[in-house]
Symmetry: C2
Subunit: 330 residues, 2 copies
């Protein structure tokens, strides 16, 4: 089997490519929106045809490229059946097999981080997503998280696999790429065999983390396999890239927001929604082309309607705002 | 063979651990100073005894943990003979074998990024350092870099290995972890078989990069296997960590430098070397404990001597300054 592990440095997400050497059919597990060009190039160079896109769960920390990869390759998207996602081509049941060339994958439902979390088991490898992680595990404090369910999934289902099974997770923040079931049984400080459910619950209560900054945009988007429906008045990040020099970019956020993690696009005019924007529009040329930008794409839509009401014709709103712009790797 | 690839997110450096399953003897390739605790913990958990620390070259972008790993494990440091490093326990010749348990490694001198660059070949894997990289190669514009030598090393030596040989490099900046000789022959835009030496030279001339920010501290340190000799008036980063709350930290750099990539330690007093520092010392308590800090550890030494001349007794200078502090992962 051709096997590649790939890393997204921004979200510390691991993506995997599994390819059958004979048929050249292949699978991508947990692909990331901003890495779609890298992944497609590699598939092409390895002479692989993408047949399936497997997601271990609805991610909260990055946007999946599942929907875009499907559009560009014809591959089918696969999610655990408990996600109930309408955008999934296949909702895979617990214990169900999926065949891709000579590769046979078994889905193992491993709820706890989310209800729909599914691990994928192939030969001596298991792809555990955010259920079991290296000396760690996924969070249980949002998206239907449950300590009891996660404990049961890891201890009864994943730890039932052979000790030498290689554990490939959706993330690691310390530069570790792989572990084994045997190692995690011994050394996982949360879910290892020496820990009780009570120990685990106490650990998770003590180790609360801040709210993931991408969650507001990532979760709803990922529930649509990463696809954002486009309104007629919107321009997508991909469409805007070649146009940035040809249009007037008007950022309608507050000045403070520009210093935040989403940053801003080079060359913008800052005209905060409200009085600032109104003064800007009063003196601006209504014949020129404008793109309005905000954090999530809602305030920029308001700005656009304000401009239209004043007779501006060539106006667009950046779809998904700066959060989506960054999620797309711009 | 037990095999682990590890990543340092800050410098995008890959470190490798190779272990013999029978004897539990092991090798680390290109370990990073700031990751020493992670690496030692993993070796212990995998029940491996470190016998050799192999460096592919004298790195310019991170500090090696070779010397510290040797101190803590008794392992021998191995460098290509053309490095001429005094700190190396073994200077390995081109074509020479190294045995570690049942693992047999062959050294291949692959100069061009530096004169001493050495690749290590084991079974179906080759560790190429900064000679051949994934769809790329190392720089040739400093440290005895030579386009001609690098072209020859890759084309005549590395491309002579079987096509299916897995290529593991010292870095990748796009989240790719492995390639093969066959892929690089086809797809490496600089050194692939369709490129001539003239193409390669033209490419390297066109793609100049900025000066590596760690180079001034990394190269001299790495020429001593990562060991920084300590002066009697200095305190090491490891020693300072538990003391930060017990001493007065005086940063003697300019205010602007604090905004640079090295940043500053929480709780410092800023007293720029010169008049600022002199005023500070005039009103400071000469009985209190002080640690002076700068970018590389030279200005802080001057500050310390100034303080001593004024009768301050309990004064230290942070060894290697903020650059070394960061290199040690603080």
């Amino acid at each position: 089997m051709i096997f590649r592990q790939l890393f997204d440095l921004k979200s510390s997400t691991y993506t995997y490519i599994l390819g059958d050497e004979e048929t050249r059919d292949s699978i991508s597990i947990d692909p990331v929106r901003s890495q779609i060009e890298r992944d497609l190039k590699l598939l092409q160079e390895l002479n692989l045809t993408l047949k399936f896109i497997l997601e271990t769960h609805v991610h909260a920390d990055h946007v999946t490229s599942a929907s875009h990869l499907r559009d560009r390759t014809g591959a089918k998207t696969v999610y655990g059946s408990k996600t109930n996602l309408k955008c999934a081509d296949i909702l895979i049941e617990d214990g169900e097999n999926l065949e891709c060339g000579n590769i046979k994958i078994t889905a193992l439902h491993t709820p706890g981080h989310t209800n729909g979390c599914t691990s994928y088991w192939v030969d001596n490898k298991v792809f555990t997503g955010d259920a079991l992680m290296i000396r760690a595990c996924g969070r249980t404090d949002f998206q239907e998280g449950s300590n009891e369910k996660l404990f049961k999934s890891v201890r009864e289902k994943l730890f039932a696999l052979p000790d030498e099974t290689l554990v490939y997770t959706a993330h690691d923040y310390l530069g570790r790429m792989v572990s084994t079931i045997g190692e995690e049984k011994k050394f996982n400080p949360r879910l290892g065999l020496s820990q009780t459910l009570e120990d685990f619950i106490a650990f998770m209560e003590e180790h609360r983390l801040p709210y993931p900054k991408m969650m507001d945009i990532a979760v709803p988007l990922n529930q649509s396999c990463g696809k954002m429906e486009k309104e007629e008045f919107e321009i997508t990040p991909d469409e805007l890239v070649p146009e940035t020099g040809n249009v007037i970019l008007v950022d309608v956020r507050g000045a403070e927001e520009l210093k935040g993690p989403s940053g801003y696009i080079e060359g913008i005019v800052l005209a905060t929604l409200g009085e600032d924007l109104n003064s800007f529009l009063e003196s601006a040329n209504p014949e020129a082309p404008y793109v309005f930008i905000c954090e999530r794409g809602r305030r920029s839509a308001l700005a656009l309607f304000e401009a239209r009401a004043r007779g501006f014709q060539d106006v667009k709103s950046l779809q998904g705002g700066m959060l989506y712009w960054r999620a797309c790797g711009k």
